[in-house]
Amino acid sequence: MKLTLKVWRQQNSQDKGRFESYQVSDVSTDMSFLELFDVLNERLINEGKDPIAFDHDCREGICGACSMYINGRAHGPWHETTTCQLHMRAYNDGDTIVVEPWRAAAFPVIKDLAVDRSAFDRIIQAGGYISVNTGNAVDANAIPIDKVDADAAFAAAACIGCGACVAACKNSSAMLFTSAKISQLALLPQGRPEHKQRAEDMVAQMDKEGFGSCTNTGACEAECPKGISITNIARLNREFITAGFTSK
């Protein structure tokens, strides 16, 4: 296959940035999307040019490092698939592919397609945990948990923190990310003691980071590589509203 890539190039956070076009030939359908970038980068290095910077690590769809907004889609066209798991058989000979970084005020560009997602860490720091010191735990089977709740908590906890929800949302809202953690902990009895404080603090931090608000378009859910449901956002709303009306 022969493809044209239009890639966002930006030297650093101060640079204005621009698109640059690259022709890539001999693209194998078995390549992953990131391997396409490896091949292109190898060529750029050999030509004495600056390779394209992008975040990636595990390349098996679980670490959440890879990003890339591909032809208007977070992580490209495949459903519930991260960029690293997207394979070139998704494209046809002669296609033009436009690749942009995640765009959000809260995710400033570091270089090219790599962005700073530390805002997510700070949201977790605000309360995305259960305050239990090591060694304080009771026997694991001392707290039976309804399997339905445990499964729902797991489904929420499957979030990989990649930021596709923010990238896909027209408002750059981080509600799906925040709600996934709040839901996981709200569904488990261990998480109940601090659930009000958690909801208030995490939402406050989310706002402070400069993410937009949720207008319930559902784009986050549609693009989430782990299929996190917006039911979690409803749960976050319940948690937050209950906290707001009843906390002291």
Binding site: C58, I130, P144, A157, L185
Partner: protein, 657 residues
């Protein structure tokens, strides 16, 4: 002489006695003691959190953009613990015994027993943190058997156990960050250990965004940077997984233990072409129901589904009737290699074997039919019901396979081939997890300690968290109790200045080469040498050749590597270059270690040491020791031997026939 400092006394009381007699640091002093943690995987995140909870001042470093992305996240199968919730006869002793035996008698009894002892508390701690383990309808935790063990002791969260455990440790870590007890340094890479008066006192780190070097002081330094499987270029490790932190520690005096012990995982998706950047593991659990085979005819190019039953060679079932498709990882991997090398491989590359679910689908379909009392279900109906059951159990793995290969594993057998997965070797540590450099510790996969020559499935997660949550919080006190009078060393101390200068010098050299080839070019070349000559089967001739080839490659690297961009900016190529430079040195040491160990044990198979029917043959008389290598300069290392004694478990030849 190497002293592992194993406490005296009976195995069962070593750890409890240690805990009740170890030196303590009082809370007021803990506040004054600073600890540096390199890496935020299961070992690093749990250690940083646990130490901060105790009151130490912790600085945690990771090269990823967030602590949550460390490669522990990718572990699929589960975590072992001797809980005996299933009433099937599990105990601390059995877990200990299985681990020592599974490691082919190349691990320390004392360390392994402690690991088994603390395993139960890990599960309690994780559940308290909100880790959503799989549960039964009654609300209690579910277990499965894993990696061929006879008891069900593996706790799991679907196929994402590593992710859930890491997120638990990550959240504990973030809590300590919010409380001000941990300062987190994301996108930072440790490039040197700073020693003052022979003790580890800090690090030089590079801020990967600005490219600037930083000096950090610590009363102790913990290396929790994972394994070095990426020396093979292609492995199931993350792209960024590297040996740099451990290797810098090694060059500063920490011995490297058993570097040649590498685990090759049998069920990975095969290489599809030159563009391949990494290999993807498919959970070992697939072998519970799938059958592995190759055609009986060489170079058989028929479609798998066109090959009739009698022309298929279910070679694992044939060779190992007792364990069949469930033999340990090393045995299954070598058997696949043997068939492919003999010309029976499948797929375009001929370097793959089939993992077939057709029979399992029919079997599950029939069970469903009988559950639903459908006595006259057609074959199609049975297959449809069977597929539904298989999808329920393994759906996510099948989907992953389909995405990567474009083939439908419900219809055609999957193609699999072994790939490098885990490294049992690592920095040599004593019972306290301290390396041979005082104040420098190694935890998790970065140390060599608990898995011997082969790691059992679901034990890596157990060891990482055991080291971090339950071992280091005690053992570090033993050292730090004597450091309470050590004031923080100013960062303009000559040791820091010198260390930074050395790091800067190396970076300048790398940037200055401006040769012809990319970093990956050298990394791939190294990977090929390692895989061909220090991979699943090794022999003296190949290893000697490999050493020469690696030395030549290293020389070429330092003359001809091309790194674009600048030093003081975000420059992933420069990061990779530093890591590959260290892999080149490590690769040589691995070959040396494999060469001296003229026996087959666990993941290390020396062709010179095998039985008549091609099984691994251990040599306890000559090789019942830990090989601990001391760095003596470029391409020069000295071997120290820590003898292994087995008081409880008596080494026997493993047999799965």
């Amino acid at each position: 002489m190497l002293d592992a400092k194993i406490p005296a006394g009976p195995l069962e009381t070593k750890w409890s006695k240690y805990k009740s007699t170890v030196k303590l640091v009082n809370p007021a002093n803990k506040r004054k003691l600073e600890v540096i943690v390199i890496g935020t995987g299961l070992a690093g995140a749990s250690a940083a959190a646990a130490l901060a909870e105790l009151g130490y001042k912790v600085k945690a470093f990771c090269f990823q953009d967030s602590a949550r992305r460390a490669h522990s996240i990718a572990a699929q199968g589960g975590i072992n613990a001797a809980k005996n919730y299933q009433n099937d006869g599990d105990s601390v002793f059995r877990l200990f015994y299985d681990t020592v035996k599974g490691g082919d008698y190349r691990a320390r009894e004392g360390n392994v027993y402690r690991l088994a002892e603390v395993s139960a508390a890990i599960i309690d701690q994780c559940v308290a943190q909100g880790v959503p383990f799989a549960r039964e309808y009654g609300g209690l935790l579910s277990n499965r058997s894993f990696g061929g063990t006879q008891v069900q002791r593996t706790f799991y969260a679907a196929g994402q156990t590593g992710q859930q455990l890491l997120l638990g440790a990550y959240s504990a870590l973030q809590r300590q960050v919010s409380l001000g007890n941990v300062k987190m340094y994301n996108r930072h890479e440790m490039l040197e250990i700073v020693k003052v008066d022979g003790k580890a006192r800090g690090i030089i780190a590079r801020d990967l965004v600005s490219g600037k070097l930083e000096r950090h002081f610590g009363h102790a330094v913990l290396i929790c940077s994972g394994g070095y499987g990426n020396v093979f270029f292609l492995s199931t490790n993350a792209m960024g997984s590297n040996v740099t932190a451990a290797w810098k520690a090694h060059k500063q005096g920490a011995y490297f233990g058993n570097p040649c012990f590498t685990q090759i995982h049998p069920t990975c998706i095969p290489v599809s072409g030159d563009h391949q950047s990494k290999l993807t593991l498919m959970s070992e659990s697939l072998r519970n129901d799938g059958r592995i085979w190759v055609p009986k005819k060489k170079d058989d190019n028929r479609k798998a589904t066109d090959i009739p039953e009698e022309e298929r060679d279910y070679y694992l079932e044939r060779r190992y009737p007792a364990f069949g498709n469930l033999v340990p990882r090393d045995v299954a991997s070598r058997a696949a290699k043997e068939r492919c090398d003999a010309g029976y491989g499948v797929g375009a590359s001929k370097m793959a074997v089939y993992l077939d679910y057709a029979e399992a689908i029919v079997r599950y379909g029939k069970i469903e039919a009988s559950k639903k009392s459908l006595d006259h279900a057609s074959e199609q109906e049975i297959i449809a019901m069977g597929k539904a059951v298989v999808a329920e159990k393994y759906g996510n793995l099948f989907d992953m396979y389909a995405k990567i290969t474009g083939e439908n594993p419900y219809e055609t057998p999957m193609r699999i081939y072994p790939a490098v997965h885990y490294t049992m070797g690592g920095l040599w540590v004593d019972y306290d997890l301290m390396t041979t450099v005082p104040g420098l510790y190694a935890l998790g996969e970065a140390n060599f300690s608990d898995h011997g020559a082969n790691r059992l499935g679901a034990s890596a997660l157990m060891q990482g968290l055991a080291d971090g949550y339950f071992v280091i919080p005690y053992t570090i006190g033993n050292y730090l109790a004597d450091e309470i009078h050590t004031k923080p060393i100013p960062l303009d101390h000559p040791a820091f200045v010198e260390a930074e200068k050395a790091v800067k010098g190396q970076l300048d050299t790398l940037m200055g080469i401006q040769g012809k080839h990319s970093v990956d070019h050298f990394h791939k070349a190294l990977g090929k040498i390692m895989w061909d000559k220090c991979g699943m089967a090794r022999n003296a001739k190949g290893l000697q050749e490999a050493i020469t080839e690696i030395q030549a490659l290293k020389e070429e690297f330092w003359k001809d590597v091309r790194i674009p961009g600048k030093q003081e900016e975000f420059n992933p190529e420069l990061e990779k270059a530093g890591r590959v430079a260290d892999f080149l040195e490590l690769g040589e040491l691995m070959c040396k270690d494999a060469l001296q160990r003229n026996e087959s044990c666990g993941g290390h198979f020396r062709e010179e040491s095998q039985t008549e029917d091609g099984e691994a043959k251990r040599n306890d008389d000559e090789f019942a020791f830990v090989a601990a290598w001391e760095y003596k300069g470029p391409s020069s290392s000295e071997l120290h031997k820590e003898p292994l004694t087995f008081d409880i478990v008596h080494p026997s030849q493993r047999s799965y026939k």
